[in-house]
């Protein structure tokens, strides 16, 4: 019994290596079933990014399965006790080297070039519109400043919010000015497939067009100190009319607070 088990053992090792592609694929299938997958996307360029992700996932998935299965097959077939043939006394193959150099080279170059436009759209071609809002990261909160009725930032009618709620319209192009007041943070909007580190002393632009309404998380994705985990915000994407109404409401709230403050003084 034990003898038979031992004779089977070499196969056991090959099978253990076969478990890698099997379990690997199973994990991704189960992940899909249990909804551990890309979160819902509500932006236009997010769709492109997801498509690129799937493109690479399928491509690397195939390479993964093929190479791992070949590895298993060699481990199975050429195990010393199973392989009665003399070893291939080969030092390599020139033509094989050429094939497996050129093929991945072309594929990789293709992936790189194929991605360029999406990157340029997301990071290199800001729309020429006034800023919709200024976002400032500080330990450990996201602050927002809306330009107010005059559409210009840093004027007295600006609306400043520090409660971590960001209201933006969907269906329209949005341009944000993002920066930091102290250390590095990263303004991460998972559902809009956007991420940009914010840097003190440096203003950056971020833009997108949301396709749907809803409330989603704002995550800080760059370690910024002990409270990094709680540097959470919410982004609320509203219909343009609802968005205008919300801004008006925020403005009035701010005015009443100012009046109250003045009276207190």
């Amino acid at each position: 019994m034990i003898k038979r088990l031992l004779r089977w053992l070499p196969n056991f090792w090959a099978l253990l290596f076969l478990a890698v592609p099997v379990m690997g694929v199973a994990t991704f299938v189960l992940a899909d079933i249990y909804n551990i997958w890309l979160p819902r996307d509500v932006s236009e360029h997010g769709r492109t990014i997801d498509q690129l992700f799937y493109f690479i996932l399928y491509l690397t998935g195939i390479v993964f399965i093929v190479t791992e299965v070949v590895l298993f097959y060699f481990a199975w077939k050429y195990e010393a006790k199973h392989n009665n043939k003399p070893v291939e006394f080969s030092h390599g193959s020139h033509s094989l080297e050429v094939v497996w150099t050129i093929l991945p080279a072309v594929t990789l170059l293709f992936i790189a070039i194929y991605q360029m436009d999406a990157w340029a759209a997301a990071k290199m071609r800001p729309p020429e519109i006034p800023f919709t809002c200024e976002v400032t990261g500080r330990q450990f909160n996201w602050d927002f400043r809306y330009p107010g009725p005059d559409n210009v930032l840093y004027t007295p009618d600006d609306i400043v919010r520090t409660d971590g709620n960001l209201y933006l319209p969907y269906g329209e192009e949005v341009l944000l000015k993002i920066t930091s007041a102290d250390v590095l943070h990263s303004f991460f909007l998972p559902n809009l497939r956007l991420k940009q580190d914010v840097i003190p002393g440096m203003d950056q632009k971020m833009w997108f067009r949301a396709t749907d309404g809803g409330s989603f998380d704002i995550v800080c994705a760059e370690l910024c100190g002990w409270g990094h985990y709680k540097m959470k915000g919410r982004i609320h994407l509203l219909k343009p009319e609802a968005y205008q109404a919300k801004l008006e409401e925020l403005r009035q709230e701010q005015d009443t607070m100012r009046v109250a403050e003045n009276q207190a003084n």
């Binding site: 379990m23 551990i36 291939e88 030092h91 340029a120 440096m202 995550v219």
Partner: protein
């Protein structure tokens, strides 16, 4: 130079004796030793101890990710500062930072170059020692001040560094930015700089030794892959390290002398007074990654080299594509200097640069692919022996495929916008570093143990250790890919603060259970290792029937290594040659002169 033949008495005397007639003291032999083998073992033992420390730090991290804020038994009281074993968020951040720091700077880099580089280079090239033995000793002893400052930093006010192993300013540069950004951070910078000095001393030595001290007949293209990898790694270190050292010192002056290399105008945190500005936080990232990207190859090339040697030996077949293997290592090293920006795609670096870094990063996956295909080619048509080192080597190949492929996702800039700083990255580097390099290191320990200690490690227990490690590590690290797909961010003390991540808790608990078991089963290895040093069956000179030069020396080799003058006739991969009756053909064996039909090439 090793051109002086050794007389035969030395072998029997073992490594305690020196050729000058008097026995050196214990201190000289085992502590302040100039012998590359002892220095290699010193590195090995030190790194194994730090491996345990790093593992414990990781368990703290895993505990918090699975059962946030609940008191952690035993370990919690050590790290949790009198809060009933609960891990406060600043401690969590410290754990993440120090786990990575210890593993990278105290374990992986020194175990590859320090332990195996030292032990193997002279033995594999036929030299009696390193070119500069004193420098070599210093390279080990420079680790100690580093051990001490980093070790002490856990006990200073505010605790050890907390700004990640990447140490990005301003968080790291401003004292007020975090509790660990006080003395702890200064200790971190000094510690890492000292490790750098140690590596630099080693690297100069390795390059000189490999170029100058090869035995007669050992041409460059007869060197084993391990030596090629060590050689190229040493070059990488020599060119990349000065940048890290300079950057580290710049950060120290920002912190202590009021300069502003990495601080923008008006830099402040926590309402503290502003500090000198005029600098740029991104500059640090450029300098840091200019070193640390090549450093990730410093952390894998030697592993690739050792795996190549083991795969060929246990496939009983020549290494497939020796020269393409050498060229692809060189290619990785060369390209390694122009890809650092892939860590900074969303950092605020000019996005146009992102495009060029994307192309160069995609191209660096190419030599990695070539190596993988050649390893598969090596196994093809062989007579594979599933010894413990072979199992670890195959595991390396299998796991490196995963780590290399996940690299492509992140090299694609648009995709990286989403997955940067999520668990996808954590999955990637644990696949290359833990399931990759660490497996190669385990394999290499089982493989060269007989040369180090003259005894074999137990193969049955080695296999049990392998199987459990292999299964458990995949349970810990593979799910990280799908966590990353969900956008699960790294370095969060309590990810469940976000409602969207609540449902990922059970999966994290599963991963943590596996992580605890994974650390637990390493006890099998520790016992096997120490038991075998004293009680393992004696190994002859060449227990694996391998070709390499080191297997012609006594086990363990005495001072001066060889008891004969090695002369090299061929490369190290002539397994299964038709010129001999046995399936191996040592590098030192004179040609049999047997006429064989021209070998297939």
């Amino acid at each position: 130079m090793s051109t002086v033949p050794y007389d035969h008495h030395h072998e029997a005397a073992g490594h305690a004796a020196h050729g000058h007639g008097h026995a050196p003291s214990f201190l000289k032999t085992y502590v302040f030793s100039l012998d590359h083998k002892i220095i290699g073992l010193q590195f090995l033992f030190s790194t194994l101890i730090w491996f345990i420390v790093g593992g414990m730090l990781a368990l703290g991290v895993r505990w918090q990710l699975a059962w946030p804020w609940s008191p952690m038994p035993i370990l919690g009281n050590l790290v949790g500062h009198a809060e009933g074993g609960q891990i406060p968020p600043e401690t969590y951040t410290m754990l993440v930072t120090m786990h990575a720091t210890v593993m990278i700077f105290f374990v992986i880099i020194p175990v590859l170059a320090g332990a195996f580089g030292n032990f193997l280079i002279p033995l594999m090239i036929g030299a009696d020692d390193m070119a500069f033995p004193t420098l070599n000793m210093l390279s080990y002893w420079f680790m100690w001040p580093a051990f001490m400052v980093i070790g002490a930093s856990f006990f200073v006010e505010g605790g050890a560094a907390q700004s990640g192993w990447t140490s990005y300013p301003p968080l790291s540069a401003l004292f007020t930015a975090a509790p660990g950004s006080g003395t702890g951070q200064t200790c971190w910078l000094i510690g890492v700089t000292l490790v750098g000095i140690s590596s630099m001393l080693g690297s100069v030595n390795y390059m000189t030794t490999i170029i100058q001290m090869r035995a007669p007949g050992m041409t460059m293209f007869r060197l084993p892959m391990t030596i090629w990898a060590m050689f190229i790694t040493a070059t990488l270190q020599a060119f990349a390290l000065p940048v890290l050292t300079a950057a580290g010192l710049m950060q120290v002056t920002d912190r202590l002398l009021g300069t502003g290399f990495f601080l923008a105008d008006g830099a402040t945190a926590n309402n503290a007074a502003m500090q000198a500005g005029g600098g740029q936080p991104l500059l640090w990232q450029h300098l840091f990654w200019f070193y640390s990207h090549p450093a990730v190859y410093i952390m894998i090339l030697p592993a690739m080299g050792m795996v190549s040697d083991m795969l060929s030996c246990f496939s009983r077949k020549p290494l497939f594509g020796y020269k393409p293997m050498v060229y692809s290592i060189a290619g990785i090293a060369g390209l390694g200097f122009i890809v650092w920006g892939h860590h900074m795609f969303v950092s605020g670096m000019n996005p146009a640069l992102g495009l060029t870094f994307m192309v160069s990063t995609m191209m660096i996956a190419l030599p990695s692919a070539i190596k993988t295909f050649n390893w598969l080619g090596t196994m093809w048509g062989g007579k594979i022996q599933f010894t413990t080192p072979m199992l670890f080597s195959i595991a390396f190949v299998s796991m490196f495929i995963i780590g290399g492929l996940s690299g492509i996702f992140m090299a694609a800039t648009p995709v990286d916008i989403f997955i940067h700083d999520t668990y996808f990255i954590v999955a990637h580097f644990h696949y290359v570093l833990f399931t990759g390099t660490a497996m190669a290191v385990f394999g290499a320990i089982y493989f060269w143990f007989p040369k180090m200690f003259g005894r074999m490690m137990n193969d049955q227990w080695g296999k049990i250790h392998f199987a459990l490690t292999f299964i458990l590590m995949n349970c810990v690290f593979f799910p990280m890919h799908i966590l990353g797909m969900r956008g699960f961010p790294r370095r969060l003390a309590d990810p469940y603060h976000y409602d969207t991540f609540r449902d990922l808790m059970p999966l994290n608990q599963f991963m943590s259970w596996c992580a605890f078991l994974l650390v637990g089963v390493q006890i099998i290895f520790v016992i096997n290792f120490f038991y075998s040093i004293f009680f393992g069956p004696r190994a002859g000179r060449n227990p694996w029937h391998a070709n390499g030069l080191e297997w012609q020396a006594p086990s363990p080799p005495g001072h001066g290594n060889f008891d004969f003058q090695p002369v090299i006739y061929r490369g190290p991969y002539e397994y299964g040659s038709p010129e001999v009756d046995v399936d191996y053909y040592p590098q030192t064996q004179p040609p049999t002169g047997r006429d064989v039909p021209a070998a297939k090439h």
